[in-house]
Amino acid sequence: MSTSHEPEKIPVTVLTGYLGAGKTTLLNRILSEPHGKRYAVVVNEFGEIGIDNELVIGADEEVFEMNNGCICCTVRGDLIRIIEGLMKRKGRFDAIIVETTGLADPAPVAQTFFVDEDVKQAARLDAVVTVADAKWLAQRLRDAPEAKNQIAFADVIILNKTDLVSPAELREVEARIRAINPYAALHRAKKCDVPLADVLERRAFDLDRILDIEPDFLVREDDHGHDHDHHDHDGGHHHGLKHYHDEDMQSVAVRLDGDVDPAKFMPWINRLTQEQGPNILRCKGIVAMKGDPKRFVFQGVHMMLDGDSQRDWRPDEKRESKAVFIGRDLMEEEIRNGFLACAA
């Protein structure tokens, strides 16, 4: 008799960020700190890494469309090949870091982990980490759609080079980030000097780790000594951040007290992600299904959805259902009404 247990999957951290934001600085920090971990690093530009690392793999970002009837379903073909090859070195490294080019869309990388069976079996996407330049991000958000995508997609945002801007400029750029993605963990940094625990082993795509989906600033308000301007009365927001509205990239948060009817909710979420998937970059939700003692959690990237029953609702926990969507030109009213109509 052999006892079968799921072997630990290799975590993969995706490092994005516009040209010059500081991705390579962060990568060099990850590789040079004495953490005892061995990383396989997938890079697009060889020679930029200043640190000796045993496993540096040069890749061409080969984005392939899948012929599965899903128009936005693209994968990184090179990544599938590289992960397959790296499995031949199993046991000789602990984690994989994928550095994308400055102009890359993170979606194909993330979708690779939803679509490819072999990749799914060997590795798990840990988090999308975006490095942003505090001085130039605001301008890039205006003139570079790629930069906006990278912010919208991120689980973790390193706002780098904060020493090059004034406190007012810093607040401004943070507000612009929050207008696009209020849910990512946002860390200020100079020369990417963030604790690596904030970057690695985030388990951001692990359904079991979706505990809550409050905006990051609400979650972290107590433990962060940020110099928020509490005298700013603009809109009366929770923490006094100036409120911006990004014209084409937004987040939509929906909530209803109590349960949803699975017979209504499942077709609705499937239809929504099928019809509006090209515009929805990320989504996440925690739902109380009528008659189910367990929380149902889901997350998605464009048209890809992944959902499962999680832990039991606790006796002291209010049964409620909520979801967030980050995307381009989202039809907020339609999403909200559709969700509310799923009430049990």
């Binding site: 052999s2 392939f64 599965n68 031949k88 070195r89 199993k90 069976e117």
Partner: protein, 334 residues
């Protein structure tokens, strides 16, 4: 099933099991000697009791290896392509300077390899020609006659005569193509795809053949000795397509051999009979006779997925290896 039935349908007691020490990338017989290519860069040659151990890649991983029965050709993630003979002698064929060797092809003294988009072919005299694929070339195969190489890439495959000037011929089909094989009679080119399907072209008119319905990717393909059947992995049975007719498998249903509750990972046709060796993701190895679907057990399940299968030239021995390093040599009773 009674115990007597079990005994009659098992050859497991004739399989000599051993530990190869690392993920088995390829299993072959080189000049009759059982030979295992291992992911840790080692090649094991000879009888399991007195194996010769040849270290090909001391500091790298072996990504791929193939054999034509005379030579074992290996590709490493350090960019080196190496030819290994049965006596353990090695010849450095190429060094792509740290770029991964993704695919290999071998025919007699000629060979080919790819590293990313770069495809190179070396003829019998040692002259090397290069061709750049539009995207990474994932699979290579030589046609049996003429010095012609097929390379797969995104949205199709390209047929290239390395010795002939002029544009290579590309056959197109949307999607990412992985492994590639010519039918033994040279009439068909077949690729495996990212989308859990095979694609084929009849070369005389580039007519397309779609072979779909797989729950997983096909990464192992094998032609029967008479060229009339193509066995494939990727389902919970070996899927065997008929290629006897002039239209190949078009409009025909495939045979399913060795249906189990486990994914087929490797297939290898016997060199002289319509008997297929099948390896599964749970480590089981089975022989299935195509004519009457009779099944004979070779290896019990356990210890990982079967990652390599190879017959000797006469079909009297079958060598198998798993991704855990478990391995075995079956000698068929005379």
């Amino acid at each position: 099933m009674t115990e007597a039935d079990n005994a009659a349908s098992s050859l497991a007691q004739h399989a000599q099991l051993f530990d190869a020490g690392a993920h088995v990338v390829a299993a072959a017989f080189v000049d009759g000697a059982p030979t295992l290519a291992l992911a840790d860069g080692v090649v094991l040659i000879g009888d399991p009791r007195e194996q010769k151990r040849v270290v090909i890649y001391p500091d790298a991983a072996m990504l791929t290896a193939i054999s034509d029965g005379k030579t074992l050709l290996t590709g490493g993630d350090d960019g080196r392509v190496v030819a290994v003979l049965a006596d353990g002698s090695v010849e450095d064929i190429a060094d792509e300077k740290g770029r991964w060797i993704d695919a290999l092809a071998l025919r007699g003294k000629a060979c080919a390899w790819s590293a990313g988009k770069q495809v190179r072919a070396r003829d019998e005299s040692g002259a090397i020609k290069s061709w750049a694929a539009p995207t990474t070339a994932r699979g290579l195969a030589f046609q049996r006659k003429g010095f012609r190489l097929a390379a797969t890439h995104y949205n199709g495959a390209t047929l290239w005569f390395p010795k002939v000037e002029g544009a290579p011929q590309t056959v197109e089909w949307k999607g990412a193509h992985l492994d590639v094989t010519f039918s033994p009679d040279g009439r068909f080119l077949v690729t495996s795809m990212q989308e859990n399907a095979l694609h084929g072209w009849r070369l005389q008119d580039s007519r397309n053949m779609r072979m779909t319905g797989y729950p997983g990717k096909t990464r192992s393909i094998s032609w029967s000795h008479d060229g009339q059947w193509l066995a494939t992995s990727g389902a919970d049975a070996a899927v065997v397509w008929p290629f006897k007719e002039k239209d190949g498998p078009m409009g025909k249903a495939p045979r399913e051999c060795g249906v189990r509750q486990a994914r087929v990972t490797q297939v290898a046709f016997h060199p002289k009979a319509l008997v297929l060796a099948i390896g599964y993701a749970d480590g089981l190895v089975l022989l299935v006779r195509l004519g009457d679907a009779a099944e004979i057990l070779v290896r019990h399940p356990g210890d990982g997925a079967v990652s390599a299968l190879g017959w000797n030239a006469t079909g009297s021995q079958l060598l198998f290896g798993l991704d855990s390093g478990a391995a075995g040599l079956l000698s068929l009773p005379a």
